[in-house]
């Protein structure tokens, strides 16, 4: 897959603008991802379709809106997207990109950016690459498009989060090895949490993410919590344990979200019980 020619570029841009204005007018929340997301973020226009994220509950409405704007619906065999055509240009309405469905949170993370002649919400660079890497498999293992996209978006990608999200996925791991070797992925130096510690270059391997978050929760004066457990499952950070107040439980979410942008925080921490004890212990 090379970069598209100028005739095709015109057709893709025209479809992109029609999709964006139609969904906006129909009030369907969406975000550009895939090739059009990369293009909106300053990368090459190198795929031959338009990828759009919508919530599962909005997929039918999105298809209806695009069809009334003159596009043609088709039956896609995949159970994670709906497909329409604008003349010859395919438009993928994706509602379950990797293993998780699109939610309000997914779309809220999008950023309004100018693309072609319109403004459109565009998924974060880290999300775009994560979804793309997680879609790799034995039937589709083409790095030809992802490599220039990753190179163009390298400064916008949080590589720590990307690695944490795609861990245990061998195709993503292979791509990330390649990105490391050819110098695309940059070591991600997070802001130091303590002014007194000397700055040690921070590794972006996934197993360090848990360590980084635990230290942040302890050393950030907003939390100062040692008694919180941190686990990373795919794109979710799970917190558990007990703290003294609800304010402190909520501060945990804020500090983790800042240190792991793009990951979902599941805060299962409870506020410690302080009732009267129901019994005493006899020590004989």
């Amino acid at each position: 897959m090379g970069t598209v020619g100028s005739g095709e570029r015109t057709a893709l841009e025209r479809t992109l603008v029609r999709v964006c204005t139609t969904l906006r007018a129909a009030g369907v929340p969406y975000a550009l991802t895939g090739g059009s997301g990369v293009y909106a973020r300053g990368g090459p226009l190198s795929e031959h379709d338009i990828d759009v994220l919508v919530r599962p509950s909005d997929a039918d409405e999105a298809v209806r809106a695009l069809v009334s704007a003159g596009m043609r619906a088709t039956d896609a065999p995949e159970d994670w997207l709906r497909k329409v055509y604008d003349d010859a240009v395919p438009v993928d309405l994706i509602y379950r990109p990797a293993e998780y469905p699109v939610t309000d949170d997914t779309l809220a993370a999008a950023e309004e950016l100018p693309v072609a002649s319109v403004q459109a919400p565009v998924a974060p660079a880290t999300d775009i690459l994560a979804d793309k890497l997680l879609s790799l498999g034995p039937q589709y293992c083409d790095f030809g498009w992802i490599l220039p996209a990753a190179r163009a978006l390298r400064e916008q990608v949080d590589w720590v989060v990307l690695r944490a999200r795609t861990q245990h996925h061998p195709y993503a791991e292979a791509f990330l090895l390649l990105a490391d070797r050819v110098g695309i992925s940059t070591p991600n130096r997070s802001r130091g949490t303590s002014a007194r510690t000397a700055q040690v270059p921070q590794s972006d391997a996934p197993q360090y993410l848990v360590a980084r978050l635990r230290r942040a929760l302890t050393e950030d004066p907003r939390t100062a919590e040692q008694g919180v457990r941190v686990r990373v499952h795919g794109r979710t950070v799970q917190l558990s344990g007990q703290v003294a107040t609800t304010q402190r439980r909520d501060a945990l979410t804020a500090v983790v979200a800042e240190n792991a942008p793009g990951l979902t925080v599941r805060n299962d921490v409870r506020v410690v019980a302080t009732g009267q004890p129901d019994e005493w212990e006899e020590l004989r």
């Binding site: 457990r229 302080t274 004890p277 005493w280 212990e281």
Partner: protein, 244 residues
Amino acid sequence: MTLRIAAVGDVHLGRDARGRLRPTLENVHEHADVLLLAGDLTQRGTLDEAQVAADEFSDLALPVYAVLGNHDYHSDAQDEIARLLSDRGIGVLEGRSELIDVAGCRLGIAGVKGFGGGFAGKCGSAFGEREMKAFIEHTELLAGTLADALHAVENADVLVALTHYSPVADTLRGEPPEIYPFLGAYQLAEAIDGARNGTGADLAVHGHAHFGCEQGCTPGGVRVRNVAQPVIRAAYAVYHLPTA
């Protein structure tokens, strides 16, 4: 006759937690004869947080004794915090003991924050780098202070050791084993077992291990109780000890 000891650690108070414990504490004297606080009274070790702790625990209708925890040292204000608590009538046992008459018996309480270092066969040694020696020497200094403080009141009818860090690994079950050396040190248990010429104290109370469990025992057979609030899940725990 029975002596009733109420104890809690790791309340981690701050301005956002003002009044959280007070309603339950108001009648603690109906359930206990003395209240022990096992450190981490504050979250960040600041004086305004210590003020909240003082307001929660002072002017109760029973004697209150405390040790400080690592959180209370975080802002380098531990001395001011100890003074503030003492001024409000809370006995701070930073390496010292008190002998008091309660429930018709003489109760001796010896307290120290303690420190890490680890347990039997899995512990640090005062060897090598200056930082490593300083770590273990701090542990040994505080354990020695606890031994002296216990010795000073060993003619008590009931003898209790109060620390923040754990003297045993038993009460850490639930915590990752890799961090045990940061949660306590066997030297504290040695001091507790060595009290009264090796007969041992009657009870050891500590906190710090939020994911640990309540019950343990020293090698010498002294009962150990982890009263960290997330472990006991109540305003305080109560232990009844025979006094005769």
